[in-house]
């Protein structure tokens, strides 16, 4: 919430988001897997 308020203060739209499928989130964001 602190980040969305900071974004609003800068005139930047934002929303909260959650991803239940961690593996899918890793693939979409390009994060490396667990070592």
């Amino acid at each position: 919430m602190a980040m969305t308020l900071a974004a609003a203060d800068l005139g930047i739209g934002s929303c909260h988001a959650g991803v239940a499928d961690i593996q899918l989130a890793r693939e979409l964001l390009g994060f490396p897997g667990e070592p």
Binding site: A6, L10, I12, G13
Partner: protein, 216 residues
């Protein structure tokens, strides 16, 4: 006897959003004029120079400071002024006895205004789920990420922001206060923190946010 008060709002408005901010200001003005709260509402002034710090300056003269507070605490105002919440502004007030000077620092009115800006930010923020694809300035991203880092969390589980071009291990250089365990922690905890302090980078080059693994 209560004195009239003049409020001067200076708005920082990014160029691409000037039109929207003007529309938002008109909506706010229309609401404030309708119940005749405002003794005299002067036109919005726009800067001549396109790179001026404050693009819009709004001047309003109120019968009393109490009238002003009553107006901005009304539900109708919050709805009407929601479009202005995203713009940084500086507000100054002057009483009739000192028309050209700012209100003294720490005055009751100034404190109320600061509180109102916080409340306004909380109540007027809206979720946005449609984006136009314009990139966000790095300085703005830094500020947003810093807000996340400053947010309270359970067991100091803080977020780390990584910017395009960062390589694994760069995070501690960019976020030094996140990158080191507090020196006052017991050695076992410091070792545990360090073993879990593995920055996650984005191989796509996009800005990304990830959370450090939890330490125990």
């Amino acid at each position: 006897m209560a004195e009239p008060v003049t409020l001067i709002n200076s708005f920082e408005v990014p160029s691409p959003t000037r039109r929207n901010s003007f529309i938002a200001w008109e909506k706010t003005r229309d609401y404030l004029e309708s119940p005749a709260w405002i003794h005299q509402y002067r036109p919005l002034h726009q800067a001549v120079a396109p790179n001026a710090e404050f693009q819009f300056v709004n001047i309003a003269r109120w019968q009393t400071a109490e009238d002003f507070m009553t107006a901005i605490q009304s539900p109708g105002f919050r709805e009407a002024a929601a479009g202005l919440a995203g713009y940084r502004r500086t507000q100054r007030s002057t009483g009739s006895s000192a028309p050209d000077g700012p209100a003294p620092n720490g005055s009751a009115l100034e404190k109320d205004q600061e509180t109102m800006q916080t409340w306004e930010a909380i109540t007027s923020r809206r979720n946005v789920r449609s984006f136009d694809g314009r990139p966000i300035a790095a300085t703005d991203l830094d500020r947003i990420l810093e807000a996340g880092r400053q947010a309270p969390s359970s067991q100091n589980w803080q977020a780390v922001g990584l910017h395009p071009g960062h390589r694994p291990g760069d995070a501690s250089a960019s976020w030094p206060r996140c990158g080191a365990a507090p020196a006052t922690w017991p050695g076992r905890r410091r070792r545990s923190w360090s073993s879990h302090r593995r920055p996650i980078t984005s191989s796509t080059g996009r800005s990304s946010i990830s959370a450090r693994r939890r330490w125990r």
